[in-house]
């Protein structure tokens, strides 16, 4: 039989595809639970950086609000914020205390700011300023808030602040639109 004649190429390709499907189905079976678990673990690790005493968390898909639990009691909430930085989006995790009145802290998840300048937004000296700040006080100090901008990186600093502010208004709906930056 000539391997290039008739239906053999079609049959051969079909066979290869069937074997590939079987192999992938098997792999998927092995890794499926692991991947879900890994994703959940990644979220838990991310939340735990803001809430060290966290034991478990709930996630509300509609509002995007995480509720952090310890011993069955909520110890805070968290949600994602997005800032428009100097070179692309800045993803920020915002944690608030259980009374939703002040911040637990924030964490930068992804950023592409200028190394050595805007990228200083990931430094604790900048991020620690957000700890315990009232949700109405999140603003750059030049706009009457409590956050000092990084010297030479005003755009990146205000991107973070504006992103957090916007997310607070969206999730908690309470901060009055303040500041004129």
């Amino acid at each position: 039989m000539n391997k290039n004649k008739g239906f053999w190429p079609v049959i051969f390709l079909t066979l290869v595809v069937i074997i590939a499907i079987v192999a992938l189905t098997l792999t998927n079976g092995i890794t499926k639970d692991k991947i879900i678990q890994a994703k959940k673990q990644a979220v838990a690790d991310m939340l735990a950086t803001l809430f060290p005493h966290m034991q478990s968390f709930d996630y509300d898909k509609d509002s995007g609000l995480y509720t952090i639990l310890a011993g069955g009691e909520p110890i805070g909430h968290a949600f994602m914020a997005k800032g428009r930085g100097y070179s692309g989006a800045i993803d920020i995790l915002v944690g608030v205390k259980p009374d939703n009145k002040s911040l637990q802290g924030i964490k930068i998840i992804t950023q592409q700011e200028t190394p050595g300048l805007g990228a200083k937004i990931i430094n604790p000296s900048f991020l620690d300023q957000f700890k315990g700040v009232g949700i109405n006080e999140v603003n750059l100090s030049r706009n009457g808030g409590k956050i000092d901008a990084i010297t030479g990186a005003t755009i990146s600093s205000s991107a973070v602040v504006e992103g957090v502010k916007k997310a607070i208004i969206r999730e908690l709906g309470s901060q009055q639109k303040g500041g004129n930056s």
Partner: protein, 204 residues
Amino acid sequence: MSSFEKNFRRGIVRSNPTFVLMLGLCPTLAVSTSLDNAIGMTAAFVFVLVASNILISLIHGLVPNKVRIPVFIVIIATLVSIVDLMMQGFVPALSKSLGIYLPLITVNCIVLGRAEAFASKHGVLDSMADALGIGTGFGLAILLLSFIRQLLGTGKLDLFGHHLFTIPGFSENPVSVLMLPMGAFLVVGTLLALFRWMGVTKNE
């Protein structure tokens, strides 16, 4: 020298995929920002290359010429998907930092190139040697690149979360452009020129 050894050695220097053939530069440039990424990428790449070369050399007598390329691509894509799923499940951090470049091994021209140019014409053992050699050449190149970029671009070396060392005084003002895509081109170009100048590699 046995043919196994000959086929293995060829890929490391004489037809090094990065510095001589200049193939598969896209993932090489993109993920060589840290040693962790380079090691993860090399592991995934060598697995896919060796497995696809072995499988293709096993069936090369049966493959109809007309559907040759689709068959190779299906095999390679399946192997890549397996690696991708495994990495997502067992080393999620690495999978996240390699990002899109892991699935893109599917269309990496080195893998398809070796399947087409070597594995589909040679026996299993020779194909395996070829894949290992090319894989080693790729791995050494990407490790060298990521070593230079990480060291000069951040002023310090980290390996899987362990801090190895910091260059004193330098880490405050590292050459951070090397961590950007432009820096990848600069380092590759400079190394290419350096290897030619030293006579290590020759233009084929």
